[in-house]
């Protein structure tokens, strides 16, 4: 058989690509349910970690079912708010926002999406309020969850995740608990123009290493772009939540 014939080459490549594409589409569709369940449990464990219910490693050990049960146990209410701080609609308590949904809302915030931004607010039974943030890191999206004390702008905890930041540098936003712990006890300046800052070269500190300015923390050494991207994500999202938080703080 002459395998160097043009027609043969074209038919052969077409056939192999079609077969492979069909197989992959089939596999992707049949595994989708399981993958989404894993992603959901992962998202919930990130929210729980930010809110101080445990560490990410602990939730990983618990398994999906236990994480979901724990969440159902502690979640109080969930709803969406718009940029004016008005409540839009209630959310099903079993629903969480996947990174792809956060991405859609991120377009809405920037005015390049399909509608008005409707951002989720999750309030646990103890009053801890968790909101997501989403933005662009150096290589891909970064996102995360920031938990606030009840009706306040004091940050209780934070957890961040990323798609493809550099391991050992930008990936520290996820892997380095010390970076995430820096957020604890800081405040978001919802009334001001600069909601939160991640400062290259270090935030001002006193002699004991205690942060002097409440809404500034240290950036990650060697990961300037990721730090800047994360700061922009936090500023954009918390800026959009600002009116909602200012309202709750008055109450």
């Amino acid at each position: 058989m002459n395998t160097n014939n043009n027609l043969y080459t074209v038919i052969y490549t077409t056939l192999i690509v079609v077969v492979v594409a069909a197989l992959l589409a089939f596999v992707s569709q049949s595994l989708k349910g399981k993958q989404e369940a894993n992603e959901k449990a992962d998202t919930i464990s990130q929210m729980l970690t930010a809110s101080g219910f445990g560490t990410k490693a602990e939730f990983q050990k618990m398994g999906n079912a236990a994480v979901l049960a724990k969440y159902a146990d502690v979640i109080g209410q969930a709803f969406t708010v718009n940029a004016k701080g008005e409540k839009v609609s209630d959310l099903d308590l079993s629903k969480v926002y996947s990174p792809s949904e956060l991405k859609r809302q991120n377009y809405n915030i920037k005015g390049t999406g399909t509608g008005e931004a409707e951002l989720p607010v999750f309030i646990f039974k103890d009053g801890t309020t968790v909101v997501p943030i989403y933005g662009a890191g150096l290589w891909g999206p970064v996102w995360g969850y920031i938990a606030f004390e009840k009706n306040s702008n004091v940050i209780k905890g934070a957890y961040f995740d990323h798609e493809s930041e550099t391991a050992g540098l930008g990936a520290k936003i996820k892997d380095d608990p010390e970076f995430q712990h820096e957020f604890n006890g800081e405040t978001a300046d919802f009334a001001g123009t600069d909601v939160f800052s991640i400062v290259k070269g270090g935030a001002p500190k006193d002699a004991n290493g205690k942060s002097l300015v409440d809404n500034k923390i240290d950036a990650i050494t060697g990961a300037t772009m990721t730090s800047q991207g994360l700061e922009a994500a936090i500023d954009t999202w918390l800026g959009t939540y600002a009116k909602y938080f200012l309202k709750t703080m008055e109450e």
Binding site: M1, T3, N4, N5, Y8, T9, Y12, T13, I16, V17, V20, L23, L24, V27, S28, L31, K34, Q35, N38, A41, D42, Q60, G63, N64, E163, S164, A167, G168
Partner: protein, 204 residues
């Protein structure tokens, strides 16, 4: 088992190891060797990809048009890599590891070992030896990965497979070991050991 088949299996494990002798797949061996678990999953993934891609392409070898053979190889390897990635994402036990390995699972496609073995072996040999050659090369790669990961996790985190080994003795984990340069130093040491055993590799 005949001698040739035995040679096919044993050669990539030591004498012709893809990492230490051919110096292929260095990038991923620096990136995914921080923990034993990650290295093990990566090693198994590469074994599956090299083995099955070699088998499929060896079965197709007489039908592949010569001018587009690299493209056909790429399509098959890419398919295998995506399949592995999708399956890892689907299980609770491997989801977190897949996330941790992130891009490196997808980057198996660029691992020269896979394409190298297909081009050099699978396209000219029967399916069964090709399959074994793929598996053996993946195993040779995986073995080095696990050796490097053993030292990096033990000295860098004081644990093995996440189980505390040194920390309870008061060991302070060495952060340098976690960083990629140390993996390169370790790899260098492994190459050194191999070359001192296997004299024919030494340049005059």
């Amino acid at each position: 088992m005949n001698a040739k088949l035995k040679e096919t299996i044993l050669n990539p494990i030591f004498k012709g190891n893809p990492i230490t002798v051919l110096v292929l797949g260095i990038c991923s061996s620096l990136a995914v060797t921080v923990t034993m678990k990650g290295a093990l999953v990566m090693a198994l993934s590469v074994i599956v990809v090299t083995g099955i891609s070699s088998l499929i392409l060896s079965l197709l070898r007489n039908t592949i048009p010569g001018r587009v053979r690299i493209i056909v190889q790429l399509v098959v390897v890419a398919m295998m890599v995506i399949l592995v990635d999708q399956i890892l994402k689907s299980f609770e036990a491997t989801y977190a590891i897949d996330k941790q390995l992130s891009v490196y699972i997808g980057l198996i496609i660029t691992n020269c070992i896979v394409m190298g073995r297909i081009e050099a072996f699978a396209l000219g040999n029967e399916p069964w030896p090709s399959f074994l050659d793929g598996i053996a090369n993946g195993a040779g790669y995986g073995m080095i990965l696990l050796i490097v990961a053993f030292f990096r996790e033990l000295l860098g985190s004081g644990t093995l497979f996440g189980i505390d080994i040194l920390n309870w003795l008061g060991y302070v984990p060495n952060n340098l070991v976690i960083l990629p340069p140390f993996a390169l130093i370790l790899l260098g040491c492994i190459v050194w050991v191999q070359r001192s055993i296997q004299k024919d590799l030494q340049e005059k």
